[in-house]
Symmetry: C2
Subunit: 458 residues, 2 copies
Amino acid sequence: MQRPLQIDQVTAALRDRLKERLSANPTLRSQHANTASWVPPEPPDLVIFPETTEEVAFVVSVCGELGVPIIPFGAGTSVEGQVNAPFGGVCLDMTRMNRVLRIGARDLDCTVEPGITRKALNLALRDQGLFFPIDPGADATLGGMASTRASGTNAVRYGTMKDNVLALEAVMPDGRIIRTANRARKTATGYDLTRLLVGAEGTLGIITKLTLRLHGIPEAIAVARCHFPNIEAACDAAIASIQFGLPLARMELMDALTVGAINAYSDTGLPEQPILLVEFHGSPASVAEQLKNFEEIVSDYGATDVVSVDAPEECNKLWQARHDAWWAALRMRPGCLAYTTDVCVPLSRLSECVSLAGAEAQRLGLVAPTVGHVGDGNFHMLVLLDPDSTSEKKLGLDFAGWLANLAMSMDGTCTGEHGIGQGKQDALRRELGDSTEYMAAIKVALDPLGIMNPGKIF
Amino acid sequence: MQRPLQIDQVTAALRDRLKERLSANPTLRSQHANTASWVPPEPPDLVIFPETTEEVAFVVSVCGELGVPIIPFGAGTSVEGQVNAPFGGVCLDMTRMNRVLRIGARDLDCTVEPGITRKALNLALRDQGLFFPIDPGADATLGGMASTRASGTNAVRYGTMKDNVLALEAVMPDGRIIRTANRARKTATGYDLTRLLVGAEGTLGIITKLTLRLHGIPEAIAVARCHFPNIEAACDAAIASIQFGLPLARMELMDALTVGAINAYSDTGLPEQPILLVEFHGSPASVAEQLKNFEEIVSDYGATDVVSVDAPEECNKLWQARHDAWWAALRMRPGCLAYTTDVCVPLSRLSECVSLAGAEAQRLGLVAPTVGHVGDGNFHMLVLLDPDSTSEKKLGLDFAGWLANLAMSMDGTCTGEHGIGQGKQDALRRELGDSTEYMAAIKVALDPLGIMNPGKIF
């Protein structure tokens, strides 16, 4: 990148074509910096709202010629600073490219633009009896979810974004438009560029279309909730359910601290003990069988107050507690800065990892409620910090680093689903060592000018 | 690569360490060329049997210094010439690196060396109630299966190699040893090097360890076989079963020509009509329910002679016909050269694609029995050619090119699971256009000397 950035030249080159869809308004710019996490915001110089792939390619070409960074932006819900502009540059807000281009009900697939959110997509699919399963919590855009390799609550059954993207269209750093694959459900055509762009956080190209795998809305759905005497028992019950082979659709853990926060937030009156909240999908008979097996398994681990429901509104009511968990936890310490950890470990180490992490947080005097996608071995601690206390912030970050190292020592990862962004670059190098140099070599090969979301991952 | 190759220098540099595990024996060399398909064999100059990752790294370093190609070799069952040595060089026969290093029963994973075959792996897993589902037919090695992104009969339920490899250890072209991921079931740590090496056909590095996802052996298994009046009805019944959401473990199609060949091969006396052969995994109740639903669905498509069994030996008996299909088909024309097509199309186009392909083969006078992993939209036509007839070979290759184009016109792929190798390079460029240039850029970035399995994919 050239210094200083040639923002005026970029503006001059783009304004005729993009008109009012190009803006340097300071409020708009600050809305397009990282706003969803502890990472300090770094706004871009310009915000552009493209409406077509060709416009994206045009912007990329102009920015390439002038050496100006491009930062793709979806819903802005990433938590490791993926949408920040540490070197300034142009934010490409993709939310006007939000159409469903095709639904292939017979093929169980669809093609969408990257700016559509997962809730809007599922609304469009519902009439056809189909759904897209990946649910990272936030109503993120599909482009953002692909770029960060998002997963969330349904991953234990349906996989992550890497498993549910069939093909991508992308504008590459040289401005060319490519298609990474056709719509076949499997392919062996050379290097897997689809999977390379999924998780690349916009550093190798801008996703402009996604072809996604869909699933039929299950005939029957049931939800069960149960309480455990301690967090180890809850983890062990989760692991036993997976090992038994139950095809659980979701399995979420909340620790006692989180349950207390939820009670305070919405007066739920739940026993303040760790909870497993589990969803079953299938035929009515299969769901009933899964539920019966699940109840038998968890009873071996001291589960109490087992509740199970299958009416949709009852299921939603049970899930509400989980949906409220984030906001309820933040209320535990009004005005706090929240740091979310994201380690993921092999199932056999989950109980130990959750337990050691809780003890260490307590030892340090940190308030850190825990929720987990425990069927995958992934859990989050929401470390609630005083934004005005430098020492507390340091304590929180040190704890997160310690936890990442603990997960690595258990053959796990520092990030199950949030990605690297600006926040986990050191952890990535600690985790994968020399591998990161080959990642960097790929980055240089595809983006020699370094214009694509610079300062992320590397 | 330097010309002429410095094979004597390579031999001199390696012999002290590898001793009798380095050989230039002509018979051995010719056994290590492509022997499993229509692609003419091109033997390497040397065959080396490494026993450790460090030995692989040593060989790669020496070959790198001397600019000599390295061709990794597993079971030699790839069909697009992936193990040929078109520029000569060193074949790394990985079959002595065939240990199971670790079985994580609680984590449903294992770590193996690349030279173990899938049958040997499943034998090692059986005692623990676990299995590895990918079954490409041949008893291939896991390293080879990963390198070609293999799949096969179980992919409809369990995915392909890309879905079942958690992490890889690999020796990169510069001789360094990397690990692409830890053992967590999901991760968002930057570029997905695991998925980049899966399907790279040994052109980016040599896989030296694989960490694999395992599955519990299902409590109950049943197999059903039924016949259809024509191939369109069989395909449509297959599609309807998938759309219904049946969690089928396998669903194989055989056309009337294949059934006739099987009858001639082993006197099975089956009605010479298209067959679907389907396997169900689950609890006893779930398998019974799936079977009932399947029978209802296929009856709408004119299925007759429906047979279903659940005793293991009976299941094996039904599967035997499918296992014999390849050999039975070859017997239709003794001494023939067999060319296997491998297109994969969206399910909605499968029936039309199979039907058009069959009609075209007939019009050309080609004998081409068809089998298909139809739950994924993938099917193979085994084109039986006279090895002494240049015109017939040309006719067969032209037909294969025509079929690849037909699949692409239906938004499908020229290769569902066999890969590119030497045989599908033109088809790859037709299918993905500019994308192949970014693949080539990655190749040059990671293997600037071009020593890793040169002449494949590109």
